[in-house]
Amino acid sequence: MEGDRTVSSHITDTTFAPLTVCSELMRDLPGARIVATGYGRHLFARHWKCEVVTEIKAVAMGARALLPSCRTIIDVGGQDTKAITITAEGKLHKFAMNDKCAAGTGRFLEVMADALSFSREEFARKALSAVRAEKLSSMCTVFAESEVISLVARGSARQEIALGIHQAISSRILSLVKGVQIEDDILFAGGGALNACLRHLIEAGLDRKLHLPDQPQIAAALGCALHGDLH
């Protein structure tokens, strides 16, 4: 970043060799100031000189930069779903995170899209187009997957199963979000924010509008970059 302008950003999978991926990324950025976040933050900090912040703080800072009036963040990432509130002054306040299982996270959506042989975009689009939903009784990723397969085998329409999956996950997200005191404005961050069906269902469930930033997946990275600038 230069000032508050983002000069370049890059998204890549951490894969099974996260440090190798990091080395490659770092090669193009000699001497840059670095702030690490996410599950690998401490691992990274053992190998590079950097500051470390949690993804909760990072996304809170990023959200404030993207939407200065933001007081609540819903962040649906790959591993975790979080609801975060920030004070009027922009300080991190309460947060809630999903339990240890993957239900209610982006990972769950990915597994289910695969089970239905949908691409990610198609998955949300088809779900939105369904007029009725096939109810899912299990929220465990493993059980839900076999439930989906048996629904397919019974001849249920794929888009209806897709809507059922989206409803199940959004009800999980909603109960998490309702655990913190939500206040407007609400920013939807993380890769899950790109899913139009999820957005729609959460807005309907909260009866509030969600703000969608340009690149919701990098809100936390933006927060880190700003943090590095401040310190």
């Binding site: 912040v53 949690t54 909760i56 703080k57 975790d80 991190l92 309460k94 947060f95 995170m97 240890k100």
Partner: protein
Amino acid sequence: MWEKLGLDLDAHDALLEMLGQLYGQTFMSQRNRPKGMEYFDFVMSEVHGLRIKEIVDAKEEGRKVFGSFCVFVPEEIVLAVDGILVGLCAGAEFALDEAENLLPRNTCSLIKGAFGFTLSNVCPYIKAADMVIGENTCDGKKKSYEIFRDLVSDLYVMDMPQMKNEVDRDFLRHEYRRFAARVEELSGRKIEVDALRKAIGTVNAKRGAMHRLAGLRAADPAPISGLDALLANQVYFYDDPVRFTESSNQLCNEIEERIGKGEGVFDKGAPRILISGCPMAVPNWKLPTIIEGANAVIVGEESCVGERGTRHLTDDTGETVEQLIDNIVDRYFKIDCAVFTPNTVRLEHIVEMAKSYKADGVIHYGLQFCAPYQIEAGPVEKALEADNIPTLRIDTDYSMEDVEQIRTRVEAFIERLKG
């Protein structure tokens, strides 16, 4: 000695190795520890050694050994017949599958831990106990004692009130008298006034030492880590009471000197955390390790292995055994465990502790499937936040799979405290 106690030697070796490793990682890597902690390191290293030998020797001299799972079991009464009371720890997952053969999976880790240790024959204290004392506190324990009865030589179950009205005090008195009679019967000794008064003094002195330690932790920089203070509170449960009191007081002397010199184990101004909730028995150091690993310092434990357990002293004035037992009842009746309803006193105590130890925030620790503490956590969190005491709720168990998730939460909470 181990074989005589009926231990499974291979499993016992495995446990000791696990314990030794964990202990080294958790405690020995801390910087600038008070020298007085060496005593506690020693006791821990001999927890399956000298201390057990001492207890076995005492048994040979005819003294009786009592094992307990709860701070409602009055140590004074046991000491009055020259008995030995040990807290059975159950702070780790051991032989989980065997425990889950007897208990539903949604039982709290403490209960499963107690079953696991017993079933796999690795706890010399359970083996050495002439009597194990259960208490009808939470439903989990109450019902599981029905099954536990077959696993130990002599299980005595103490009934417990659920409210704090006068009839409940009478009820507890009745139960303590029944317990005293049983203790007399087992030991073959009568409880005499002088012996009971002396026992009250011994336990008061032990609690007094813990109060002293607790008070010293108000200093900034923190003169002792929360992990070390927790360790002292854990050793409290199975060490010889008089020796423990001496060693704790020595530790306190050293800490006072440190405070005088402005020395500490964390930087001055490090975020200060109060832990509140379920008890942490040896070797349950999971959450404190995460907190202090993130450079925040724990300044108090609102817990039964901590201040909820050691808080009040017992009045030792009285002419008869009955009067002294009444005093004991009055002291224990004040314990604000979440199995009681309503239990607002506990909330007041958390606030009081947060203020006197200058905590910046409270982390509420709930064991999964512990209905009393997990349910109470909600109102506690709300009330504390309303009082401008930042609060984080952590619900977890003994497994290690959620360590990284908890670390993220704890670190984010510390970021919140730093503002």
